[in-house]
Symmetry: C2
Subunit: 425 residues, 2 copies
């Protein structure tokens, strides 16, 4: 049989796991394309933003993750569009044909049509965004220390998080803890522990994918750290001075966006149906209608579980989808199955976990519901185990152990954006 050319777009959880399943597969030549050179362990990105971890602790070059497979090549580049009829990709570096295509290029923030808010309220999806948030949070305390104007000091020491999902909750908890523990000793003029952290959630509870008692516990845990949780409140404006929440204007120099998500626009070029967030509607085998050779997986896919409910944009979903499609193509190229004999994808929900701070977390798996120290230890264990590469696991574990004992955050650097001598810093 002739060799089949399989192209994977995106080196996130979905793409990298599909690639691994196709590693050394007979008659399969795989190319994985990403516009970044690294795979990112997104669930810990907020720790980079909060100066607890370094970017390289949670990122690995895609090339080295896959270098043991001779049949996989890695290409750094941007995919512009897909022509499913001609079976080719338009990329920055030329046209690439495929026999099978796996589109797994994820999602980004959505400001609900108010893109101008991004300047004032960065989101957290990439390493540059994490370091930008780190810079803003640390600079806010520095600026508060420098000013004599008490109102201005208050504005610098007010932090607003928009969105009550895991990212918003993790960031709110981490800023509150950093202010109370790490930074308290460092400043002479201000008392960093007086920082005000506000979490705004439009719904009636935070972490709404968790059972109600765990949401309630999370809210109380945040409040015990001094975070003000505002439920049922909607952000109607953001500018350089602060945030309008409902009728009230909250003066705050630092605002972080952890709310909406929209799918990568490449999804639309596939010609398949997309949902409101731009996600591509997929068949039970994760291929698109009329094109059994084109798969969409990860955050870009609008897939459903057995009961017909949409699957959430979470790492475990992306990993399982990657494994499923990788194995499926492998079997099909080997002639073991045909497009008509494919079995549908089933998501095995192993549960979920979210952290609020030191020894404060929630965990749910099947009927098991945990909170507090035990859930927090579960969170630590799961994240260490799922991190890619032994080096990363080892160093992240050590960093955490260190921070736990000393309350310090190792990566508290404010780094200039410009590298030139002459550049403004």
């Amino acid at each position: 049989m002739a060799e089949k050319k399989i192209v994977i777009v995106g080196g996130g959880f979905a793409g990298i796991n599909a690639a691994k399943k196709l590693g050394r597969a007979q008659d399969c030549s795989v190319t994985i394309i990403d516009r970044r050179n690294h795979h990112l362990f997104q669930p810990l990105l907020y720790q980079v933003a909060m100066a607890g971890l370094d970017p390289s602790d949670i990122a690995s070059p895609i090339r080295s993750m896959l270098n043991r497979y001779d049949n996989i090549s890695t290409l750094l580049g941007t995919v512009e569009s897909v022509d499913v009829d001609c079976q080719v990709l338009q990329t920055e570096v030329g046209v690439i044909p495929y026999d099978y295509l796996i589109v797994a290029c994820g999602a980004t923030h959505d400001y609900f049509g108010r893109d101008e808010w991004e300047d004032f309220a960065p989101g957290l999806k990439t390493i540059p965004q994490a370091t930008e948030i780190r810079r803003r949070v640390l600079m806010a305390f520095e600026s508060a220390e420098r000013t004599n104007d008490l109102d201005e000091q208050k504005r610098f020491m007010t932090f607003v998080l928009v969105g009550g999902g895991p990212t918003g909750v993790e960031l709110a908890g981490a800023i509150a803890e950093m202010a109370r523990n790490t930074l308290k000793r460092d400043f002479k003029t201000i008392d960093a522990s007086h920082a005000k952290v506000i979490l705004v959630q439009s719904g009636d509870r935070i972490l709404k994918q968790f059972p109600d008692p765990l949401s309630k516990y999370s809210k109380e845990a945040l409040e015990s750290l001094g975070v003000e949780v505002r439920l049922g409140d909607r952000v109607t404006d953001i500018n350089g001075e602060g945030v309008r929440v409902g009728e009230q204007f909250v003066h705050a120099r630092t605002v972080i966006w952890a709310a909406g998500v929209k799918a990568n626009p490449i999804g639309k070029t596939l010609g398949a149906e997309t949902d409101r967030a731009g996600r591509v509607v997929v068949q039970p085998d994760l291929s698109i209608d009329g094109h059994p050779e084109v798969f969409v997986i990860g955050d870009l896919a609008a897939a459903k579980d057995k009961a017909g409910n949409p699957l959430p944009g979470l790492a475990p979903v992306a990993i399982q989808q990657g494994h499923y499609v990788g194995k499926l193509i492998r079997a099909e190229v080997a002639g073991k199955i045909t497009p008509t004999s494919r079995r549908p994808f089933h998501y095995l929900d192993k549960g979920q976990v979210a952290t609020i701070g030191r020894r404060r977390a929630v965990m749910q798996s099947g009927r098991m519901r945990l909170k507090g120290t035990i859930a927090w230890l579960g969170w630590l264990l799961i994240h260490i185990l799922y991190l890619n590469g032994f080096r990363n696991r080892f160093f992240v574990f050590l960093s955490w152990a260190w921070s736990y004992v000393t309350f310090a955050r190792g990566a508290r650097l404010i780094v200039a954006k410009a590298w030139k001598n002459s550049g403004t810093e």
Copy 2:
């Protein structure tokens, strides 16, 4: 006695060590001003550029380094000028008066009047410069992998280092080793080990502050790694295509500047005599002529040893000067000495060390001259010991041990400059 106000400009080796000596000194109120929030262990900055270490491994917030001293405050800000007659500093955040002033704001690159070269050949003094160099070196291999044009491939895989001092030598050795060991396995189209690394030195030997046999050994060690060392050659032009070395044009997409140095322009506002590189000529007690209350130390100072030879711009000189001035002011404020009874500064030369690569280094102390593995172990030990903070020492030691065993470089991330969704990456 009334409290004396001591202002330190710059949190490098000189400033931070002066501050430490003034910590808890009676009747001394100290303010340390830096435009960055972190102290940087500059001797290991090339390892950040070469993806071996993370920025936070070699940098610590100045605030936390000094937070145990109640009489020291830290201010993030830029000093614009000094008025030595009125005893005040002009800063971004207002006017600051002083009784004693320690100016220790170091040096930056000098392109010998050709500032336009900086775009094509970044220097290595700050973290953003280190990550920019990392990005360029890693991107060069990625771009070589993407192109089918063999000449273009060659240009992407040619790296020119300008300057044969420790930084140029360390970078040349590190790029050659990275290409041969770390990257070789990662690429399918190109053979990374074919990368060409050229070190251009205008003098007749590299590492000219070392005894001649050690310079010779270093050159051979670099050559054994495949580096082409060009002695007695001068760079006459740099542009986006490469470097003109003497009469020959070398096509190279990546050029790094490790040659000239010029002092911070603040030195000139002191009104004291400056040398050709803009360094401030100081008295034997490191104060400036006519102003016993103003000291200039570190790379910004043109100080001399007993024999009248200029002291080099090295970390040990800065550290000893910082200690000397800190102790001097402490004693003077306590009334133990007067400006007329000050003893002159003496630099105790403990020797020097430079590394070329794995088990390749040179070391000289007094009459002792070492090279190879033993010098390399000496280099490791010294750099671990002098690193600030136990956490940094521990993590750097582990990173090195890891890299030594696996030949891997943990921080091989190409990170975009722009953080915005909409930004170009």
